[in-house]
Assembly symmetry: C2
Homo-oligomer: 416 residues x 2
Amino acid sequence: VTAEIVSVGTELLLGQIEDTNATAAARVLAEAGVTCQRRQTVGDNLDRLTEAVRQALSRADLVLTIGGLGPTEDDLTREAIAAALEVPLETDDELLARLQESVQARGVPWVHSLARQALRPTGSRVLPNAIGTAVGFICEKGRKAVTALPGPPREFSAMLDEHVRPYLATRGGGVRIVSRVLRVAGMGESLMEEKVRPLLGSGNPTLAPLAKSGEAHLRITARGEDEITIRHLLDDMEGEVRARLGDVVYGVDEETLEACVLSLLRDRKVTLATAESCTGGLLGGRLTSVPGSSDVYLGGYVTYSNEMKLRALGVAERLLREHGAASEECARAMAEGARRATGADWAVSVTGIAGPTGGTPEKPVGLVFVGLADEAASVATQHRFGGDREAVRHRSTQAALALLRKAVLSGGCGSS
Amino acid sequence: VTAEIVSVGTELLLGQIEDTNATAAARVLAEAGVTCQRRQTVGDNLDRLTEAVRQALSRADLVLTIGGLGPTEDDLTREAIAAALEVPLETDDELLARLQESVQARGVPWVHSLARQALRPTGSRVLPNAIGTAVGFICEKGRKAVTALPGPPREFSAMLDEHVRPYLATRGGGVRIVSRVLRVAGMGESLMEEKVRPLLGSGNPTLAPLAKSGEAHLRITARGEDEITIRHLLDDMEGEVRARLGDVVYGVDEETLEACVLSLLRDRKVTLATAESCTGGLLGGRLTSVPGSSDVYLGGYVTYSNEMKLRALGVAERLLREHGAASEECARAMAEGARRATGADWAVSVTGIAGPTGGTPEKPVGLVFVGLADEAASVATQHRFGGDREAVRHRSTQAALALLRKAVLSGGCGSS
């Protein structure tokens, strides 16, 4: 079974918005075993839109259209699909009644053009929209079919899952394609690639490195006729990768490093505090992005100025004078101070030079120290990050989380 | 002058990555006055890729291809363009020598397939790549032309600006389309829409509201033959919008609310501290994302636990018992405490219930208080945010920055 995607909207041709809907649709097609061979994007122009749908139908079994289902005269997808399939448009009376009701309920006056939203190709099946007023539809003719969904991303995404995914399950069934992402922290991308190089040439599943800010990902993509075969392929490759990389693989798919670290600390009943200079609160922000983080994370200090490092964390003035704020000594003193001030079991700290200014030959932009203190000792690691201010700051939080994870796995910061 | 964009890569058809390159290319075309009527996306398949380029050339003057210029056998864009334009491919000897040099410099062995990167259609002009090894090219034939750029986004984006933009300036010159975004904070999207409704129907420039998390944007899009006409159109509409909305318009295009607030505080020589509960450091993170923020922002406290609110900020235990942490009283006490503990002129605080759990009928998820303290007084505002945990947290930082901005503009928190 083959498919094409047609995205509709002049704003897409002007580059005013990203076409995230088409990406989501493509993923759903691949997972259903439907081969997507082409995507097209056209503006709100009836001739070009009709031609695009007609061409897509001449090549593929299924055509998914995105957008152009609103009430205005620019919304032409209904007309284009009817013309391409050569079926008339008709008003769906039930739909019209429901539209009038919902408009009345909102206390908005009825405008005649709103009735356009009740039009659909004769013989099509309506796909309800739980969020907005524009419904979608599926129209089959012979062995061909067109699905039409509205463009607002929240509505599109809900209707894709609710209506199109199950429909594809009844039509698809060829070779399905499913990906799994393995997430690596605490090992550089080039070293990671070096270690898995023999696996990169494999055919099914394939393995591809993806560069991310501050961490490295490996995407495994498997093809197969059914879910069990695919899962075995993914599991086997994941096993091969883990055997080569060891415990730097911290998570799979959407699992974040902060969630992983919090769960490790929770298992060991360790509480945590933070002390941040150049990251300015981003590390705390990442830790608290995980629901339920409060049973591990007590809080922390954003000691952006030296004065704050003295006041809140008790970092010695002499230390700052002798070593500066971007130093191993300061990172350790910050972690120790945060641990002392909060009563947390462990504290982690970040201090460095995020740029774009403030660098010197001895202490260049991108130089960052991450500190960790527990009941027994404190340690600090030194990093040289590339990239702009945001990249340096994100990589710094990543390094702090990676250091925490390593320390937990090895039983404390004294032994890490 | 018309153009089409052809994006190349099976990973795009599988939905594994967003096609941000095509969006950037579309914007550059619009700004150059080149009408983009269609985009196509095809996989790494020579027949389909050649057909897509050929079709695009039959309809448009210019075709921009993205991707497929690497050294592997899957990189077929060179072959497809040569076939579609009916010109032979040739090896560029100078390019080949440079490739061999750079491979040698990296200490990597030379593989024969690398020579593919020195192939280009006869008569084409090479577009150098300052970041990676894959060069691009422009190939003209009669009145038609094809530009080819490599797919890695950093390389694509640099080469788009450096090579394609100036080339379009020589070819374009029809109706240019330029957008400007006005950023609004401290006013809900529906109220904003209500106030500018009479302007929404205008033809040139057009005005379109864009929903963003925690703030509202208005995009003005103007069409014109030359830059001066367009700038006048944009300026006039901006003036109309500002007259209707007043000072809730805080910035234009990429200007962020945090940068705006810091610059207002800097002008008034006011220093700032933060005290964050449910946002966990995100507010500090946003403030310190602005280079040079250290002359205004001293630092702050992430008081995620009640214990930390007592210890670090001196919030009274009785206050927490009687009103809870998600309360106006606690928000004010946190701001006052942060001001006292840091010596900052002003302090801003955030406390509330980010969810997904922790809500009660009296204090539901999304209830957030923002506090502000200056030398004279303290105030707090109450908010009910919708959306998931991340949305609530982002909107909370947004509300804190909007409150700060309002207070600065009105001369202090006592009068805001």
